[in-house]
């Protein structure tokens, strides 16, 4: 089909000066010349093109030549990521190199949010919650907290079993964006052994990051949060490595870039603890509680035991009951586990009662009375007081524990042996008469009422009441006064006095070792992974007390008699024990609670090698719960087998 030709040039006249065809010239190479209007407009577009290209080139020159270096840096910022390589934490071993805390390889499960299609997120959280046993709300909270970096792996669970791990890997398509990451987890071959003193690890908190102690740490670091894990974190943590990786726009690693650094594994910590003794001490505390129950002290539910070298403060064991399994912290504590630990019925298992629990100390305080009395000249070794079973002063009556029996007139050593309260009521009253604070000062010199300096955090100072303390603490004018009764109660470790088992251990050690106040410690040395000794810890140098040998000798004899004399409060407990023991019982009353059972002792009596202190909360008499528990520890220390342990029937 032919289209009808239609053109204006034959039929219609053109406006002035316009042609639809160019002017023909006679030149062969340039047969036409366009009318001036077209040439003008071509020139205009040409000019516009020149301007546009100039603008583009200027802009290119500015971006590439003038500010190029800065943009190269920006491009490198885009592509280079530093990945932290966390080394295995140092192991913790006992003094005989038996492993107490180790590491094991674990599998962490995490989500890389950007790899999860938006529509898949909700069902994915549901599936993960079911498989991992973590609540949906918890997963959502984790994702929210890390929302700023959707390319980074958000760890949902630190440690999953092989079963769960392979379940997820086999169903990769049901778990988009879910990845497995290898990590190191704390492993405790001894289970609950020494849980409180070892402490646990956890992510550094925002508040901790601000402390000067944590200079050089960064957010996300896992640090020791308590116990020796906290104190020796600098050595245990090793040094983080760095991996430089090139990532694409979605944060996916593409290649490794030179310039990284290897992670250095943490150094090993050698403890002063002897695993065998620690185990015995923990068993002994449980045994003490069982004994208390057998003696109808039903409320006995907790306790602590300490084994220390009295010459240098090295702690061979430090047990606290109730305890917990530190492994629950290793794989990230769940809310449920935390709630369980904090339940009142759990009775605060995280607390290291040996240095964090302050209690009235009962008759174990009498050692301090004796030292103070002799040194201050209040009494002499030959001073006697009559004990009719009670003590009357200022119109009040205090009973001796033996009431309605009597102790008769006894000298100091015998008063210590049979723990005569009336003798020490008299000492207390004499100190009251001096209107000074000599007794309180001696208690403080022997480490009561202040920190012993043990190398784990959380230690409490306890309290030695003084007239000044009363003035400051109370508002009622009568309570503000220091009364004779305060001195008398203090003398038998009652009233406002509070001390930790560790403080009592240090006080007894000072008498046992010839007048040196030692600093108890748990860290012995730090050894590099290659076995090189890096650091040795001895605690602060023992402080020599200004105390006469005669005084110490007298007190030591009294304490020894208490464990071996004919009327000693714990003689029956150590009957037949091959090593001479010196030890003092204590039965501390606490308002509204059962009596606290104490026993502080050392052995061998004349050349002390071990100091053993046991405290059973609400365990009843010192001789019936704490002392047999201590005997059990001595059995282990001196390898005594099969000894029948007798609880003292009634004592103080």
């Amino acid at each position: 089909m032919r289209w009808r030709r239609r053109g204006p040039f034959q039929r219609r006249p053109l406006p002035d000066g316009r042609r639809d065809r160019p002017i023909r010239t006679i030149r062969a190479d340039q047969p036409f010349v366009q009318p001036p209007s077209v040439a003008l407009r071509v020139a205009a577009i040409g000019m516009l093109a020149v301007v546009i290209f100039a603008v583009i080139l200027f802009r290119l020159w500015f971006l590439q030549i003038l500010t190029g270096t800065q943009h190269v840096a920006e491009a490198n910022d885009n592509r280079l990521r530093t990945v932290k390589l966390v080394p295995p934490r140092g192991t913790i071993v006992d003094r005989n190199n038996r492993i107490i805390v180790d590491n094991r390889a674990g599998n962490a499960i995490g989500i890389r949010p950007m790899d999860v299609p938006a529509s898949e997120l909700k069902p994915l959280i549901g599936r993960l919650a079911t498989v991992l046993g973590v609540s949906r709300a918890e997963i959502r909270r984790q994702l929210r907290e890390h929302a700023a970096n959707p390319y980074d792996l958000v760890v949902i669970k630190e440690d999953v079993s092989r079963r769960v791990f392979s379940h997820i890997l086999e169903r990769k398509s049901s778990f988009p964006g879910v990845e497995v990451q290898k990590n190191y987890l704390r492993d405790y071959p001894g289970g609950e052994l020494a849980a409180q003193l070892l402490g646990y690890t956890g992510e550094i908190s925002a508040a901790q990051l601000k402390q000067s102690r944590f200079n050089g740490y960064s957010a996300g670091d896992v640090i020791g949060q308590s116990g020796v894990e906290y104190t020796f974190d600098r050595w245990l943590r090793g040094r983080d490595g760095a991996l430089k990786v090139e990532v694409d726009a979605f944060g996916r690693p593409k290649a490794q870039v030179p310039g990284g650094r290897l992670a250095q594994p943490g150094d090993s910590l050698v403890l002063t603890i002897d695993e065998r003794v620690q185990r015995a001490a923990e068993r002994a505390v449980r045994y003490g509680i069982d004994l208390a129950h057998a003696n109808k002290s039903w409320r006995a539910d907790a306790g602590a035991a300490i084994v220390m070298d009295p010459s240098n403060g090295e702690l061979l064991a430090m047990a606290s009951y109730p305890t917990y399994d530190p492994a629950i912290f290793a794989d990230g504590l769940t809310k449920k586990e935390w709630k369980k630990l904090r339940r009142p019925s759990a009775n605060n298992p995280l607390m290291e009662r040996a240095d964090q629990g302050a209690y009235p100390v009962g008759s174990t305080f009498k050692l301090i009375d004796a030292v103070a009395g002799l040194e201050e000249g209040v009494i002499s070794p030959y001073t006697t007081f009559p004990c009719p079973g009670y003590f009357k002063a200022y119109g009040s009556t205090w009973r001796c524990w033996v009431y309605p029996g009597v102790h008769g007139t006894v000298p100091l050593e015998v008063a210590l042996e049979e723990s005569c309260d009336v003798y020490f009521y008299n000492v207390g009253l004499l100190f009251y008469g001096r209107k000074g604070t000599e007794l309180e000062d001696w208690a403080k010199r022997l480490s009561l009422g202040r920190l012993t300096g043990i190398d784990i955090p959380g230690e409490v100072p306890g309290l030695v009441p003084t007239p000044e303390w009363r003035r400051k603490t109370f508002t009622n004018p009568i309570d503000k006064l220091w009364k004779p009764g305060n001195s008398i109660n203090l003398a038998i470790g009652q009233g406002d006095l509070k001390a930790t088992p560790l403080q009592m251990a240090v006080a007894y050690a000072a008498v046992a070792n010839g007048g040196f106040v030692v600093e108890p410690h748990l860290g012995l040395k730090v050894v590099s992974p290659q076995g090189r000794l890096l650091e040795r810890f001895a605690g602060a140098a023992p402080k020599k007390l200004d105390v006469s040998l005669a005084t110490l000798e007298t007190v030591r004899r009294g304490i020894r008699l208490a464990a071996s004399g004919p009327v000693g409060t714990s003689t029956s407990v150590f009957a037949g024990f091959p090593v001479p023991v010196a030890g003092k019982t204590g039965t501390a009353e606490m308002f509204g609670k059962g009596d606290y059972s104490w026993y502080v002792s050392w052995a061998p009596a004349d050349h002390p090698k071990y100091l053993v202190a046991v405290m059973i909360e609400q365990g009843g008499h010192g001789g019936s719960a704490a002392a047999p528990a201590a005997r059990m520890i001595y059995d282990t220390l001196f390898n005594v087998k099969g000894g029948q342990i007798q609880g003292a029937t009634r004592s103080d």
Partner: protein
């Protein structure tokens, strides 16, 4: 017209420039996409080569045909363009929220791209047929109405970039037609008022003619630091890519491209790939090729046999200039982000084939202009 005369009068410089641009484009598409997750590294460049082959066949075909024919076929061509765009609404699949394609046996066909060529030749013919109206307001309004029909249809697909090209074409054809300067001043004023109305006044009144993403892009353009991880991300990454290229380029270390930081790196932001990989030297070389292209197109406008050819060639030159400026300008942060590809370089079959066909038209005009006096007859073989 015999073959010898045809071969003697081809504009070889234009052809060589076009070939160089096409080769450059295929190369850059290859380097831009070889790190992408694809069945094979040459996936996109292979396709681009196939499109180029089709495009060159059509280029040759169009250069042989006397463009005068299109003047006679004005109305059927115009009708075909409008109907095919309408067909997209009925038959086209939805990709990325818009309908632009018709799926035919063996290939997909994008009517709006073909309409660019058709509107150029048809509008020029429409205006030439009414040369007696030149200088009147009526013909300017008629021309705008003539383009508005396909342009609005394309806008409704929606395809904002191609709509802009139609606006540019309309103005360019009117410009080379000889429309008085005063009309352009009036049109410019109207455009400013319209833009202010669409982007500022109407949204305030609650009427949204532009999509929210377009509004965001404008915000980013007016305020370059705006939302660098969200709507400003593309621009920020593009500027880093261009800037990091430096003088000589980063070669295989062009990480903005290879590691996917630069989005749309084989389509809209391909100029950033060129700048990063080949540096200022490479980018300037590419711009020089474009400059030669525009120079040849404008030169063809001046040596055309008739005003019809001048108008077509001038409009093509203006359109290439517009596309280059808008695309490169957006990459460099001196123009707002619109979906206009870089001619001959960006990946995309429809655009590449259309551009090669436009070069074919230019060659046709060149050959006719050269041969008229020598080989007998402005009617050519028609």
């Amino acid at each position: 017209m015999d073959l010898r005369s045809y071969l003697r009068h081809v504009d070889y410089l234009l052809l060589a420039t076009t070939a160089a641009l096409t080769a450059f484009g295929v190369t850059v598409v290859f380097f831009a996409t070889r790190n992408d997750p694809l069945p094979r590294p040459t996936y996109y460049s292979d396709y681009q080569l196939v499109y180029a082959a089709v495009g060159y066949a059509l280029l040759v075909a169009l250069s042989i045909v006397d463009y005068e024919r299109f003047r006679r076929w004005q109305w059927p061509l115009y009708a075909f363009a409008v109907v095919s765009i309408l067909a997209v609404f009925a038959l086209g699949p939805v990709t990325r929220g818009s309908r632009r394609w018709l799926v035919l046996p063996f290939f997909r066909f994008q009517p709006s791209e073909l309409a660019i060529i058709i509107v150029t030749v048809a509008l020029s013919a429409f205006l030439l047929d009414r040369l007696h109206l030149l200088g009147t307001r009526r013909i300017t309004v008629l021309a705008i109405a003539y383009v508005a029909l396909p342009a609005l249809l394309v806008f409704a697909q929606p395809d904002f970039g191609t709509t802009m090209v139609f606006v540019c074409l309309c103005l360019a054809v009117l410009f080379f037609y000889g429309t008085p300067w005063t009309h352009f001043a009036a049109l410019g004023g109207t455009l400013v008022v319209a833009l202010v109305g669409v982007f500022a006044l109407l949204p305030a009144a609650g009427v949204h003619l532009v999509k929210s993403y377009q509004m965001e892009r404008l915000m980013v353009f007016l305020n370059p630091g705006h939302d660098p991880s969200g709507s400003g991300y593309n621009l920020a990454q593009s500027i880093i890519a261009v800037g990091s290229g430096g003088l000589h380029g980063r070669g295989n270390m062009a990480t903005q491209t290879t590691l996917d930081f630069l989005p749309e790196h084989h389509t809209d932001f391909i100029f950033a790939v060129v700048s990063e990989r080949y540096g200022f030297v490479g980018a300037a070389l590419l711009l020089a090729l474009f400059a030669v292209l525009i120079w040849r197109a404008l030169r063809i406008a001046t040596i055309s046999r008739d005003l019809y050819g001048s108008m077509i060639a001038g409009a093509i030159a203006a359109m290439f200039l517009f596309e280059i400026f808008v695309n490169v300008g957006m990459t460099l942060g001196i123009m707002p982000i619109t979906g206009i590809p870089l001619p001959f370089i960006s990946y995309g079959g429809a655009a590449l084939i259309t551009n090669l066909m436009l070069i074919g038209l230019l060659e046709s005009i060149h050959i006719r202009g050269r041969t008229m006096g020598v080989a007998g007859g402005f009617r050519g073989n028609g």
